[in-house]
Symmetry: C2
Subunit: 336 residues, 2 copies
């Protein structure tokens, strides 16, 4: 690492709460815990940054103060808040929390799919009014799901939906067949050709320049009128106004949204009160114990960084997500 | 069958709507379609009864008029409305609609389990109020489900919950291990010993004298305070007052109820408005197309009956459900 042997490295923790079980890190580093406003002052002399408040947008503006920074780790799967030129063009290594959220998000998606199929929101509305209203509802077995995003979260979703009897295909950067989780993976530029086949379209992609706004009027126009859209990626994957129009006009049948272009979702958003829309507050991955799990992922990488071992979950900054290849030790220790 | 060769048999259809695709049956039988009130008059001279309105309770009272009846088929899995002495002690063959509902009910149960784990009802409540309220929610992977009832519906539930990552055990008439769907099946008299281990207790049993009221104060008392109870069996499996007390006192954490002692659920039932209770109107198995599927099951058995082939889904009247063993042809044709 970038410190003189014997010195403790300087670690900036961005976020207002202390990560759980952080004693072991604190013993081995000079920890500067700051909120957004404090970041520019804390940056000078820092060796590493742990973005614990992964919703923060403070890093780009503070970046000019990050003189000798060598490593940034974020407590999320998405790294879109860190994909700015200053970091991308630097030698600073970026790692994420790949793997923590996969299973929980997959369960959320399957829960949303079953809630749509079994008309659960309407059942709860009738219950609230004390109404006994028998309806026929849909099977999910045999229905077609298109999972957009072939990273670990998309894979977990594909596996779980397939286990529940749906027919699954994926959309990823490269087309391929015989994938163990997806079967067929279609290339992103084939999205428009894949959408018409899907009963459920699930967005679990990383947010990059290539995927921003991919769910727009053109995309919703080619979906089935009976299709449901589930977004566990990022709000900016969607052109929100186009989604509202598609839902209002019946171009698609429903949406389960856990992420939004603006979070919290503004009070005046039409999405709050649209029929067949389920709004959840960016919580699909946040299972009981998630903060401990995130802190453990950081602590493991921190130990690796201290001992100049390859870091886990190194983001390919040209792609915007990890490729699964470990970083060479020199990446963590560059600058020594 | 019981008619003179050349004659068309007399088939009573109990229910106010005509079953779908019934032309082929009507060509080969004299069909008398009646509602509850018309049953006593329609019974004399009838050879077979198709209980299309499976919620009807009219058969026992009309039974003394069912002189030469040889076969009763019901458009449901449960045959509890037909388990009265007159039918049980007669030679009349009883068949049910085993298999039609299995997959749909399993999906409903998994949807309920995921709705509990992901706190979906609260999410929808917050949405209705325009509130952005982040919470941590539960995983279902690794949770323990106890499926009470080891018939085809219980098996489908067990398979689907297991596919979604839950650990599953069953309760059936006989204890056994190594079951392909359940792993361990515990005997019904071990229920009290099994309940404390379960995060989710699912009732999918046939309603018989042995299972009536099995979920009573004693059963709820030994469940975990975090346990959820899901009933897709029959309302009479549950002592409703005991369930309400257990929910109100926090002895169990929630319930998803599709069946009730009285249906429709009375307007003054406390269940309608209890927190953590999901009330659905006896619809868990009623997927789009279920009526056609039920009519097909009958039409297949009707064809078998006409040609003196073994009937499918013959109920063991001493047990109250089919054992899967085909009836010998003479059962269908007894009385010739």
């Amino acid at each position: 690492m970038a410190t003189t042997p014997g010195d403790r490295p300087v670690l900036v923790v961005l976020g207002s709460s202390r990560p759980p079980h952080f004693e072991q890190v604190e013993e081995r580093a000079e920890v500067r815990q700051v909120d957004d406003a404090g970041l520019p002052k804390a940056f000078p002399g820092a060796d590493a940054l742990f973005v614990w408040d992964f919703l923060s947008h403070a890093v780009p503006d503070a970046w000019p103060h990050a003189g000798r920074l060598r490593w940034v780790h974020i407590a999320s799967a998405g790294v879109d808040t860190l994909m700015f030129d200053g970091l991308r063009d630097s030698d600073v290594v970026l790692t994420n929390s790949r793997g923590v959220f996969d299973g929980a998000i997959a369960e959320y998606v399957l829960g949303a799919v079953l809630a749509f199929a079994k008309d659960l929101p309407a059942t709860l509305e009738h219950q609230r009014a004390g109404r006994w209203r028998h309806r026929e509802t849909e099977r999910v077995a045999g229905k077609r799901a298109l999972v957009v995003g072939s990273g670990p979260i998309g894979r977990a979703i594909a596996r779980l939906l397939r286990a529940a009897g749906l027919r699954v295909a994926g959309v990823g950067r490269r087309a391929r067949s015989g994938d163990p989780d997806f079967g067929d993976v279609h290339a992103a530029d084939e999205l428009a050709a894949c959408l018409p086949c899907a009963d459920y379209v699930i967005c679990a992609a990383p947010l990059t320049d290539a995927t921003r706004g991919m769910f727009d009027a053109d995309a919703f126009a080619v979906m089935q009128r009976s299709a449901r859209f589930v977004n566990v990626g990022r709000g900016a994957h969607v052109v929100t106004d186009d989604l509202v129009t598609a839902l209002a006009s019946g171009e698609i049948a429903g949406a389960a949204l856990d992420v939004f272009e603006a979070e919290p979702l503004p009070r005046d958003s039409a999405l709050w009160s649209m029929p067949n829309v389920m709004v959840s507050p960016h919580m699909s991955g946040d299972f009981i114990g998630w903060e401990s799990a995130l802190a453990e992922v950081f602590a493991d990488n921190f130990q690796r960084w201290l001992s100049s071992q390859p870091l886990r979950n190194v983001v390919d900054k040209t792609l915007g997500y990890p490729t699964g290849r470990p970083a060479a030790p020199h990446q963590a220790a560059s600058g020594e």
